[in-house]
Every structure is written in structure tokens, then in C-alpha cells.
């Protein structure tokens, strides 16, 4: 496969996201600009200007009409995807580390940073899907994270729970209606920050990535750990692939140590693991800095990664990716084919 290299950003990428149809990629970086790209050829659709600080996060609603971003300028913003028009700005006392829409696009959550005098929190807003309608100023829910600040969060299936990953390596489950803490469990090693949380397509389970060099798949309702993927480098991101049962892990040497390590030692590769057998099946090289985020095409035909090196690399999978099967999988597929004859 020949990756497409997107070089529209001037600083390290922080998040990249596909829209639900997979035709547009949104990328945010520390250079204050949001970019939208066509995924099939890498053509840049446009840029969204207005943020005054580094951007940490981006998410798009299910209909690809609204885009939410959050950054270090202590604002969360809502944009019209089509034109780049700024629709709404919410101000906060601290920066926004993560935004995410619910599956129906009616709710938007933001994770705020903890800083002197302010605890970390998760705020939820009602969103009006009409671009011209005014958006509410008041949050409908605010969850204060007393013990350890949340670093990542998302809505589970049917927006029943809000799942949050914390700085201390624990994962919490909150009721998405009342904000009540239902359950908290130490999933990753203590004091090893959870760096990413991405959902399976049906949002019944999710994968977390952590600085403790492992990624784990957990159930959304019980927070039971299903699978663990232990690697040899701190992880920044993990994604679950549809179609094939793989997970993609991205990470590498901490950003501050990058200049002191060579590309080979830095382990700046996207690692592919088999989701069920929890075995590494291959790596994709390319970045010369740690991978800050990996996102998978919702139809499972490709993935893209944003690196500390300022590039987004868009990959379209080719045949060997789809053909690969373990022996047991192959036998099963054959048995199924025979049964249907």
C-alpha cells in the first residue's frame, strides 16, 4: 500500500478522525488549525480558523454537519463542517482535552483539564443538529472528577453510560443521565495515564491505550477486561478495526525524548494485533515521531495516523490485509462455506 502523506499542519498532530461515512478525515494539531481532508485522495477540503491555542481534540457528528473541537485556549467550539463557519464557542476555566458526540449526535461531551483551583470535569451539552439553530450555553450535566482527572471519555451504546479513562490508569463508568459514578476500576498500572479510548462500532466495548505500554479491551457495561495487548513502548492511541478482527496500536518514545532516539529505536510504528488471539501480526512504519493518534476507516478499508512529526499518513489496506486468517479462522470459514452449499 502507498500511504498518502498529508502535510498541512505545522506542528504535532493531536487527533485525527474519520467521519461516519469515512470520506472525510478531520485532523487537529498544536498549530491552532483544524483541517478537513478527503480520505480517498488526500485532497484538503478546507481549514477551520478561530482557535487561539493548541488543539487537543476533534469529533464530528453522525451526519457530518457539525464538528466539535477543543483546545488549550480553554474553549470548546462547534463548526459547520461544510463551510468552516464557527457556530458556537463555549468558554471554560481550563483547556479541553477530549470532545465526543453521542451516537445520535444529540449530546456532546467535553473533558476539561485540572489546573490550580479547578478540578478536572466532564461536561455534557445538548446539541441541536440544525446548523442555524442557536446552541445552548448551559451544560446539562457536569461530572467532577475528584480523585484523578479524566483524560479521555466517551458515550457508550444508547448514550447509557459515560466511560472515562483517568490519569491514574483507572476507568470509570458514569450514568449518562444523572452523572452518578457507578463503578471505578483500576485497569492499567497505577499512575500510568490512559491516553486513548476508542469504541467498537456498536459501542458495547472499547479499547484503552495507556502509558503503561499496554492496551486493553473492556466491556462497556461491566468494565470487565476482555483482552490485553502488551507492547514494549508507551502507547498513545488504540483503535478497533471493523471487518477484520484486528486492533491498531500507536505510540512510541515520549515526545520529549524523540530527538535523542533514532527512528528505529523510537518504535514509531503502527502495530497491528489480532483482536481475539491477542498476538501481534505486523507493523507499519513511516512516521519519524511517536504516533499520537490512530483512526480506522468506519468501513474498515483503511486507517490514518497522526504523528508528533506533523504528518498525517492515510493508508488504504490492500489484499493481504483482508486475506489474512489464522488456521482456525480459515477452517471455520471453510466449514461455513460447505454448510451453505
Amino acid at each position: 500500500m502507498r500511504p498518502i502523506l498529508l502535510s498541512g499542519h505545522e506542528r504535532a498532530l493531536t487527533q485525527v478522525k474519520y467521519n461516519p461515512d469515512g470520506d472525510i478525515i478531520f485532523s487537529v494539531s498544536k498549530d491552532h488549525v483544524v483541517c478537513a481532508w478527503y480520505s480517498h485522495n488526500g485532497e484538503r477540503l478546507g481549514t477551520y480558523h478561530g482557535h487561539q491555542g493548541a488543539l487537543w481534540t476533534v469529533d464530528v457528528d453522525p451526519t457530518s454537519t457539525l464538528l466539535a473541537t477543543g483546545g488549550a485556549d480553554n474553549t470548546m467550539r462547534l463548526w459547520e463542517v461544510k463551510t468552516g463557519r464557527l457556530l458556537k464557542t463555549w468558554d471554560f476555566p481550563t483547556s479541553i482535552k477530549r470532545v465526543e458526540f453521542s451516537a445520535d449526535g444529540r449530546q456532546l461531551l467535553g473533558v476539561t483539564e485540572r489546573r490550580s483551583g479547578h478540578t478536572g470535569s466532564i461536561v455534557v451539552y445538548e446539541i441541536n443538529p440544525d446548523v442555524d439553530a442557536p446552541q445552548s450555553d448551559e451544560h446539562v450535566l457536569r461530572i467532577i472528577c475528584e480523585d484523578s482527572k479524566a483524560t479521555v471519555a466517551g458515550f457508550s451504546y444508547l448514550a447509557q453510560y459515560i466511560i472515562a479513562g483517568h490519569e491514574d490508569g483507572s476507568v470509570s463508568q458514569y450514568d449518562a443521565k444523572s452523572g452518578e459514578l457507578l463503578y471505578n476500576t483500576q485497569v492499567h498500572e497505577a499512575d500510568m495515564q490512559i491516553t486513548d479510548l476508542q469504541w467498537a462500532p456498536d459501542r458495547t466495548y472499547f479499547i484503552t491505550a495507556s502509558k503503561d505500554k499496554s492496551a486493553k479491551i473492556l466491556a462497556a457495561d461491566s468494565l470487565e477486561v476482555f483482552k490485553t495487548y502488551q507492547t514494549d513502548t508507551p502507547l498513545n492511541s488504540a483503535a478497533i478495526t471493523p471487518v477484520k478482527d484486528y486492533v491498531i496500536l500507536g505510540g512510541g518514545q515520549a515526545a520529549m525524548d524523540v530527538t535523542t532516539t533514532s527512528a528505529r529505536q523510537g518504535k514509531f510504528e503502527a502495530r497491528f494485533w489480532h483482536k481475539i488471539f491477542a498476538e501481534e501480526i505486523g507493523r507499519v512504519r513511516g512516521h519519524f515521531g511517536p504516533l499520537n493518534y490512530v483512526a480506522v476507516h468506519p468501513q474498515g478499508t483503511g486507517y490514518c495516523s497522526g504523528g508528533e512529526d506533523g504528518y498525517v499518513r492515510v493508508h488504504h489496506f490492500d489484499k493481504p490485509y483482508f486475506d489474512f486468517m489464522y488456521e482456525v479462522e480459515r477452517e471455520q470459514a471453510q466449514a461455513k462455506a460447505q454448510a451453505s452449499l
Binding site: 500500500m1 502507498r2 500511504p3 498518502i4 502523506l5 498529508l6 502535510s7 498541512g8 461515512d21 470520506d23 472525510i24 488549525v33 478527503y38 485522495n41 488526500g42 485532497e43 484538503r44 477540503l45 478546507g46 481549514t47 477551520y48 480558523h49 457530518s64 461544510k82 463551510t83 468552516g84 514494549d232 484486528y246 528505529r264 529505536q265 497491528f272 498476538e279 501481534e280 501480526i281 505486523g282 507493523r283 507499519v284 512504519r285 513511516g286 499518513r313 493508508h315 489496506f317 490492500d318 493481504p320 490485509y321 489474512f324 489464522y326 488456521e327
Partner: protein, 282 residues
């Protein structure tokens, strides 16, 4: 793919000199030849000929996706032509990604580093004179013995027959006065033409392969007394290999020649002349 046709417009609308009309020729095999003319920054006209094969790949997409493909660009991309822009999009080198069941964490990485280390450990210092484990310059026999079988081109005698130099190994007859030279014979090294003043030797590179030693001698003797000219020749073809050494009796002559002859056009090539590096790095 049709954008390549549109791209030629920018050149067309800013030409002051009349440039020939751009041409699009349809070839029989289904390809198109596009000839465009433009003026480069330095004022030269350039003609670009491109042969393009167009293939139409039909893809059925969701109507929402199809609609989004025709959205106007905005922000920094506002007003730009359709298709990827070269400043933001490029295609990286091909990556082979083949999932395998027993994928081992790149063991070759470690192997390489270890190998290098082992190589370093094994690398021994070997004297070229007595094969002892010291540097050649520190050899106790330095003054009494010559360097063993390390005949660099500079040390090859210019007047010796080509076959005679190698002599020792092959069964052919070697005259007594040439014997043992390859074997590091002692006495002969001293005195005479073998004690060369490398300080006055020039290395001439980029010599035409049709050059002869006499040509070089003629050219270089303009600057002083040339004691020796050695032109490296290919043994089989007899043609020059492209480098030569010229020794002068006087170093100042050599310096002058170096200055004058560097960049001199000889044959169809431009000579490069510099002082020869001393073979043992003294």
C-alpha cells in the same frame, strides 16, 4: 486525472512572449499526449510532453458522500482547484504490509546492533609490514622492510611491464631486478626513483579514457620538471581508468600546476587536480 489538463492554464495566462499553442494529441492506443510550453524563471522556454493514460474507475458511494465531493473549498483552501494540492499532499513510498501469524518483534534490529559490536571487537590492528598487532607506522621494522604487497596505484612503477609487476604468483618469468618487489623486498626500496617525494605528487582525476601518458606529460611539464607520470589503465582494454599521478621535482612547481590545471578542459572532460594524499596517512 483530468486535472492535469487544467493545470496547464496557469502557464498559459502569464506568457509575454508568444509560446506555441498547447497541444493535446489522442494516440491510437487510447493514451493522450499533452504538450505544454512555459517560460521558466530564468527566462528559458521549456516544452513539456506528457503521455497520460486515463482510466475511469467507477465507484458507487452513498449519495451523501457523492454530494460532499462537490463541496466548495474553504479556509486556506478557498478558491483552489479541485484535486490534491502538491503543497499539502504527497504519496509516500510503498509499504508492504502482510500480516503474519507468528510475527516476531523486529528481531533483526537487535541482531544488527549486536553484529556491529561483535565486528568492532574482532577488528584487529594489523601491521602491513610485519603483520604484528600494531599500527604500520609504529612497526619496529619500518625502516628496514617495505610495505608488504600493498601496491597502491601510486607505487606502481610507470615503466615496468604490466605483467611483471604482479609476477610473483603467476608462473611467468620475472627479471631478477624486479623480483621480490611485490613480496616487500628490502634493499631496492632505498634510493633512486623508488624514494618518491609524495609532497610534489599531484593526483589528476576525471581524465578522459582516451588519454595517453605522453599527453599528460606534455601538459604538466609546462610548469616544471616532471619526474614521473603514472596513468592508471584498465588491464584488459588498455584504456585509461580516469585518474593519474604526476610527480614534480619541485613542490612549488607542483603547487603551480595544481592551481593552473585544476578545472582545465582536456578531451571532453574537465580535469580535477589536487595533491595526492599520502598513502600511509602520515
Amino acid at each position: 486525472m483530468s486535472r492535469t489538463v487544467g493545470r496547464s492554464d496557469w502557464a498559459a495566462d502569464e506568457d509575454e512572449d508568444e509560446l506555441p499553442q498547447n497541444q493535446i494529441i489522442k494516440n491510437k492506443d487510447g493514451t493522450e499526449t499533452i504538450i505544454t510550453y512555459a517560460i521558466r524563471e530564468d527566462g528559458k522556454k521549456i516544452k513539456t510532453t506528457r503521455r497520460i493514460k486515463k482510466t475511469v474507475v467507477k465507484q458507487i458511494v452513498n449519495p451523501r458522500v457523492a454530494e460532499r465531493k462537490h463541496w466548495e473549498k474553504f479556509g486556506q483552501e478557498k478558491g483552489k482547484a479541485a484535486g490534491p494540492q502538491t503543497d499539502t499532499v504527497s504519496v509516500a513510498e510503498n509499504i508492504v504490509f502482510r500480516p503474519t501469524a507468528n510475527w516476531k518483534a523486529s528481531s533483526d534490529d537487535k541482531g544488527e546492533a549486536d553484529k556491529k559490536k561483535a565486528d568492532l571487537k574482532q577488528a584487529k590492528i594489523k601491521c602491513r609490514i610485519c603483520s604484528g598487532d600494531h599500527f604500520t607506522t609504529k612497526c619496529p621494522f619500518k625502516d628496514t622492510m617495505g610495505v608488504a604487497d600493498e601496491a597502491t596505484p601510486a607505487e606502481m612503477p610507470d615503466d615496468a611491464p604490466q605483467t611483471g609487476g604482479a609476477g610473483a604468483g603467476s608462473g611467468s618469468y620475472v627479471p631478477p631486478h624486479l623480483r621480490g618487489r611485490a613480496g616487500g623486498g628490502g634493499g631496492e626500496k632505498m634510493g633512486g626513483k623508488y624514494e618518491r617525494d609524495d609532497l610534489a605528487t599531484l593526483r589528476v582525476t576525471n581524465v578522459s579514457e582516451f588519454a595517453e601518458e605522453q599527453d599528460l606529460r606534455d601538459m604538466f611539464s609546462r610548469f616544471g620538471h616532471v619526474t614521473r607520470v603514472f596513468l592508471a589503465k584498465d588491464r584488459e582494454t588498455g584504456r585509461a581508468k580516469g585518474f593519474a599521478f604526476v610527480s614534480y621535482a619541485d613542490r612549488s612547481d607542483a603547487a603551480k600546476a595544481c592551481e593552473k590545471m585544476d578545472g582545465y578542459g582536456f578531451g571532453h572532460l574537465i580535469l580535477r587536480v589536487e595533491f595526492a594524499k599520502k598513502p600511509d596517512g602520515k
